[in-house]
Symmetry: C2
């Protein structure tokens, strides 16, 4: 499957309280993802807490992942940073480490203009020299891409895909058509927001950038393959099994819930980067029930 | 005047394209601020591009400022960071360098919960050990403080003040009363958003955290003193003279306009941290006219 198509699994980057990567735990997350046979790995995405990690630790995570995955699954590396020169350095690091593609979010503190985001992407894409996916995630970046800006960016060398947030009105078909009408043939349109992925895939998007697949890749892949084959009933069945987890994702943010899922799966030990806090115990019990329900054959 | 009262001037932190502090230019900005006789300096605020500077360069700016100001004006240092441990280190750096107070914004990538922000502030305030001002700036942090959270934070040791954004409905009196009713005596309530400062000061707030005073401290101080003395006519006269600049601030963001003001004042040479871009030439001409109008006696 081409890069930026199919199911992309976003693992946590497990770190200790000081922000150091826990190599053995990251390797265990990656083993599950590789074994499931997903289409790509989204290392150092928002779920991989890239925004909270030093350049050294981001290189560290890349080294561990490239060494462990050994080309069996394509690796997409998040390279977002508040400064353009930092994002350039991270993109060069990712390429040097052996990543297959880049994921770039317009992180912001001072709200950015369209021209600033355009120049930022043009600079990083050129310096990185790898296929790049625009990471459109207004919840964390506080920047919203206009269709005009997507069109300008998609015309740049290396810019090959976009990762979209769920549309406010839920009309995937219309949004995908509007983006495809203004971007080159082969430009890939994917979605994040796990609870909307079934509808997005059934509407014909190219990729599901999945948080939950970072820890439950097999189940996420069954949903994906069902939707890709047009079996709406099977896809919706899987979506319904995931729904108790989606409810937790929507309520607490998917990142916090992922740390709890890791504990339920006996893959615990990672510490969310403070100020982020683990879920309170009562909510962790709900996550446990949701995971058990998902994993129980019905 | 007590710390966190009166006019606080927020200078740019001038840096080159690589993000290195330009010492001589920073010293010139500080000279103007000290000479004007403002009540405090807000070093490494949003205008001081703290979010874009490395820990080393933030220490560098602090060393230059403390050495240059030599206690003539109290120094408040911005210590915000995405990670709690980084903000702790920055607060300890600021104290070690000789700052008089701290300014802490809840920078975010993953949207934060109230409890996360509370624990972040409690940890940094304790580690810093200096009077601390809560930096409430939803435009950049994307976190909005509830009155309940302000009450909890104001009860912590060291937490002495809040820097508020302009209220949506412009009713300063009501907002100030509501905050004072839930915070200890002496807790200082100040505002940022230069175009609303006149009304805020006339409504009896304790401080104006001023972007423009970073480069035009004398004029900002005249407005402040007029408002503090209850001379509404004189304060509004000054506010009207500033209005062409406020228009630029509202349109382009005050930070970008400040780099243009510096050029107009023959204090140019600093490079905004990319992806931030300087104003286009046509807009720089408007800033020049606005500054000239302000500085021409009427």
């Amino acid at each position: 499957m081409p890069l930026f198509h199919g199911l992309s699994a976003f693992p946590l980057t497990p770190t200790d309280a000081a922000g150091k990567v826990q190599e053995a735990l990251l390797a265990r997350f990656l083993d599950r993802i590789v074994a499931a046979g997903v289409d790509s790995i989204g290392l150092l995405g928002s779920t991989g807490t890239y925004a909270y990690l030093s350049r050294d630790e981001r290189q560290h995570a890349l080294r561990v992942a490239v060494g462990h995955v050994r080309g069996r699954v394509p690796l997409i590396a998040g390279v977002g940073a508040l400064r353009t020169d930092e994002a350039v350095a991270l993109a060069q690091d990712a390429r040097a480490a052996g990543a297959d593609g880049l994921l770039l979010a317009p992180m912001s503190y001072t709200p950015l203009t369209e021209e600033e985001v355009f120049q930022h992407f043009a600079t990083v894409a050129e310096a990185g020299g790898l296929p790049l996916c625009i990471y459109n995630n207004p919840t964390t970046t506080h920047f919203t891409f206009s269709l005009e800006l997507i069109e300008r960016l998609a015309a740049l060398p290396h810019v090959a895909a976009i990762k979209m947030p769920l549309p406010a009105k839920g009309d995937f078909t219309d949004e995908i058509e509007r983006i495809r009408a203004r971007t080159p043939a082969g430009f890939a349109v994917g979605y994040s927001g796990d609870w909307g992925a079934t509808d997005a895939l059934l509407a014909g998007c190219n990729a599901w950038y999945s948080v939950v697949a970072g820890l439950l890749p097999g189940e996420a892949l069954k949903l994906t393959r069902a939707a890709q084959s047009g079996d709406a009933a099977a896809a919706k069945h899987w979506n319904a099994r995931f729904e108790p987890l989606w409810e937790q994702f929507r309520t607490f943010g998917s990142l916090r819930v992922m740390y709890a899922i890791a504990e339920v799966l006996d893959l615990g030990g990672a510490i969310p980067p403070r100020p982020l806090l683990p879920l309170p115990p009562a909510e962790r019990s709900r996550v446990e029930l949701a995971v058990q329900g998902l994993l129980t054959e019905r």
